[in-house]
């Protein structure tokens, strides 16, 4: 992953930081991976489509947020470990500053009636958004019996049986790996 794209000089750490800072600051409402795709493969041409899809595949396989994992892998590809660090810090910085400022203001004054009403409305809407994202990511899974079984079993163990997440994974990962193992 250390070879930069051919014929383009590798960007400086500062350029990488600024590019990911931009992504972190303008990607409101989720869908950050789409912003990364456009900025990294089209605007900057730091990665070609194949390289981006390879990074995305690893990001989806590994734990952690996909957008952060893509920043880590792209940064490493461009400038090694320092590239990874500046890319992920740049991506997270705007959001962290935002939530800290809002969070501190809110925690200082939790009885603010209007703010509470707004957050209650936002929470209800966020539930709808989360359902929509889950549906959009999951609807292909719902068509296959094998996948649907794993989806339902994971939900059941976590929410209905109230097992802890490590326990759910300990049970479900081996079962699912067995079901989806590569055909010999």
């Amino acid at each position: 992953m250390n070879e930069p794209a051919e014929s383009i000089p590798p960007p400086s750490l500062w350029e990488i930081f600024l590019e990911f800072l931009l992504i972190g600051a303008i990607s409101f409402g989720g869908g950050i991976v789409a912003y990364q795709k456009i900025l990294l493969t089209e605007k900057r041409r730091w990665l070609n489509d194949d390289e981006f899809m390879a990074c995305l595949a690893i990001s989806q396989t590994m734990p952690g947020l996909n957008a952060v994992n893509i920043a880590v892998l792209t940064g490493d590809r461009l400038r090694g470990v320092l590239g990874s660090i500046v890319a992920s810090v740049g991506l997270l910085l705007p959001g962290v500053v935002f939530v800290l400022v809002i969070g501190i203001l809110y925690l200082k004054n939790t009885d603010h009636h209007l703010a509470n009403l707004l957050l209650a409305g936002v929470a209800a809407a966020a539930t709808g958004l989360l359902s929509a994202i889950t549906y959009r990511l999951g609807h292909r899974q719902f068509n296959h019996f094998k996948s649907l079984l794993v989806v339902f079993a994971s939900f059941f163990l976590m929410s209905i049986m109230s097992l802890s997440l490590p326990m759910v994974l300990l049970i479900m990962v081996p079962i699912s790996l067995l079901l989806f193992r590569p055909k010999a």
């Binding site: 972190g24 996909n66 490493d76 939530v99 936002v122 809407a125």
Partner: protein, 179 residues
């Protein structure tokens, strides 16, 4: 104070490595652990989660608010590191390793196996958040409107959420007894 910090780092470091398929997969577990071990009520969890929805970049940056609430600015910093560093380090090394061995059928198999688990856990996240967020006909209607708005229009989700959140607040403010 130090013991709270250590406890926070261990909790969020574990959640980091358990976040298969992204942060939403650990929402239900995070709510539960914060409630049991740090006395953060599901309602407070929901408020912080809602703030995260309005933030730029990854919504899970909201975890630093819990760190701040429990242990000040140092708590926020450590929770941020604990939640984002372990999974990033793992991804970094696996990325290099994968580059070295090349694509194998097993990578695809692992991804296929984890996908339905993470969808199931996301459903648990919806369930956990929904249990405290949906407390009557009004909030249920707001959630359904947001669901449709995100799924069937091309409006940026953050505007959907802000618009519907404001609408909900306005209705509750002027017509508290309506629904």
């Amino acid at each position: 104070m130090v013991s709270v910090l250590i406890h926070l780092v261990l909790t969020f470091g574990t959640l980091s490595l358990l976040a298969v398929g992204g942060g939403t997969a650990v929402l239900a577990e995070m709510q539960e652990v914060l409630h049991q071990q740090f006395q953060i009520t599901p309602d407070r969890f929901l408020e912080v989660y809602s703030v995260g929805q309005l933030a730029p970049g990854p919504n899970m940056t909201m975890v630093v608010i819990f760190g701040f609430q429990l242990a000040g600015i140092l708590g926020a910093l450590l929770v941020g590191l604990a939640f984002f560093l372990p999974s990033s380090v793992l991804c970094f090394w696996i990325g290099r390793f994968w580059n070295y061995v090349g694509e194998t059928p097993w990578r695809r198999a692992v991804q296929n196996a984890l996908e339905p688990i993470s969808i199931g856990l996301m459903c648990s996240g919806v369930y956990a958040v929904g249990k405290s967020a949906l407390d009557g006909p009004l909030t249920i209607a707001l959630a359904m409107t947001a669901f449709m708005g995100v799924l069937f229009t091309r409006i940026n989700p953050v505007y959907v959420i802000l618009g519907i959140g404001t609408l909900g607040a306005a209705i509750k403010y002027w017509q508290p007894g309506l629904l």
